[in-house]
Amino acid sequence: MRGETRGRGWRRLVPLLLIIPFVGTLWVSSYASLQPELWGIPFFYWYQFLWIAIGALLTIVVYLVERSEEKRGP
């Protein structure tokens, strides 16, 4: 079994999802603000916590798509 399977069609593009967290977190001016607050927590802080979850979810999606691709075989 090959560890890195070439996807077909749209599946080829799925790993590109992993670029999203880089854009979201390194574009600092998009979130360097204290408003709006959430439960008293300024935006700058809760927004970055949100990105932890988004980053993990995107990684899981890429992993699952790769795995289903491997199961279908070459």
């Binding site: 204290l34 802080y45 932890i52 993990a56 795995r67």
Partner: protein
Amino acid sequence: MNVTALVVAVALFALVTVLGFVAAHWRRGDLDLLHEWGLAGGRFGTVVTWFLLGGDLYTAYTFIAVPALVFGAGAIGFFAVPYTIIVYPLVFVTMPRLWSVCRAHGYVTPADFVRGRYDSSTLALAVAGTGILATMPYIALQLVGIQVVIAGLGITGTGLMGDMPLIIAFVILAAYTYSSGLRAPALIALVKDLLIFVTVIAAVVIIPAKLGGYGAIFAAVPREKLDLAPAQYGSYATLALGSALALFLYPHSITGVLSSSGRKVIKRNAAFLPAYSFLLGLIALLGYMAIAAGIKPDPTYGTQWAVPALFDAMFPDWFTGVAFAAIAIGALVPAAIMSIATANLFTRNIYKEYLRPDATPRNEARVAKLASLVVKFGALVFILALENARQEAIDFQLLGGVWILQTFPAVIFGLYTRWFHRWALLAGWLVGMATGTAMAASQHFTAIYPLQIGGFDLRGYSAFYAFIANVIVVVVGSVVLNAMGVSPGRDETVDSDYVSDGVRPLESSVPESGAAVADPAV
């Protein structure tokens, strides 16, 4: 002295000491072989790897320094969060390739891979030497973490007696690392991570309850600390990106990766390790909680005092003991893995390469065990003997981050293409090391360099700018050297090595003769 806390902390410390020695019998292997001692045979599954990497990457110093930075400098200290968000997509993409090629050829260190890929022991020596140099101050900082906790427990003294608890802790650590190898920190990491999770979750529930909620905590922080200034945006982003690119070049990170049993294990961990990032974000907020609780910097330990003082003020005594033990044990796991990783680099890329080419796997294991002792006691002597050791260690750790990032082109680019020329990679490394060190030194060993280009203020992380200089030299040099037809050396890897599942167990790839592909034991 806080007697209850002390008793609890000592009891937990005793527990992990027992675990450290028992670990020799866990998933039994022949500990006289380097890949068994130094990589635990490369058999760790998803769960153990998760605890091991979590215990390895989120060090005691992290728990002290990140909140200390937020406590002292405010929002900029929160860069640790984007840093740990973007590091895992990088791991997901790059580390399975490194794992595969290392498993296919029995490489134990990243420098082994560079040697095989570029046919250059000089480039491998540069990578190995950088890894050793960058890791030594990191080990020393783990000692600083333990020191802060010991002081937090109220144990004070002068001279040798004052240092005794630290010396005892480190002698015990050295003994079980020597006898059990990587199995010891892997088993202890289970306890460490659970203690840290319990401590942090308790902290983010109990402390805000006492301080009047999160709203009250943030309201107590001066606005100029809370709000990232526009002039800091570039620093924030380059600190996060530069640190993320560097993290998995550290020898102790790669040791954790190579000890796992497969590509899938690494990929799953890239998806699940962000649980620790969440934890780290909460830990960073402890800095603001300390401000809200009215804690002042300590004359000796400065802002690093924030977290121990906060715990001491907010928790019942017995739980302060648990929390302090969590931090101290949190120092032992990375210190053990770092010393093992350093020992493997020395053994494989200096001892075997230059001093004793005919070394057998058994010779290598013996040398690595001794080297791990030398590394740990070196760090101990450094911390105890130098007048200003704490600050020196912090400065060197900063430089370590600058240095290790300069091995990125040789190691990570090398996983994808052989186009880059080995001498261009060496030249780029040299330029990166020199410019990075010069930039950091010119700013009195602070991370941010005020780069100005054409009237634009591009202040940012010096490691990152040194890396850019490095890459420019690597690209230009490769174009020139390839055009001139300078020999690129023989590449002993093939494309399929980078994606193979490595179904063979590690030991079967180790020839008894101890030939070039001997034992995987970072």
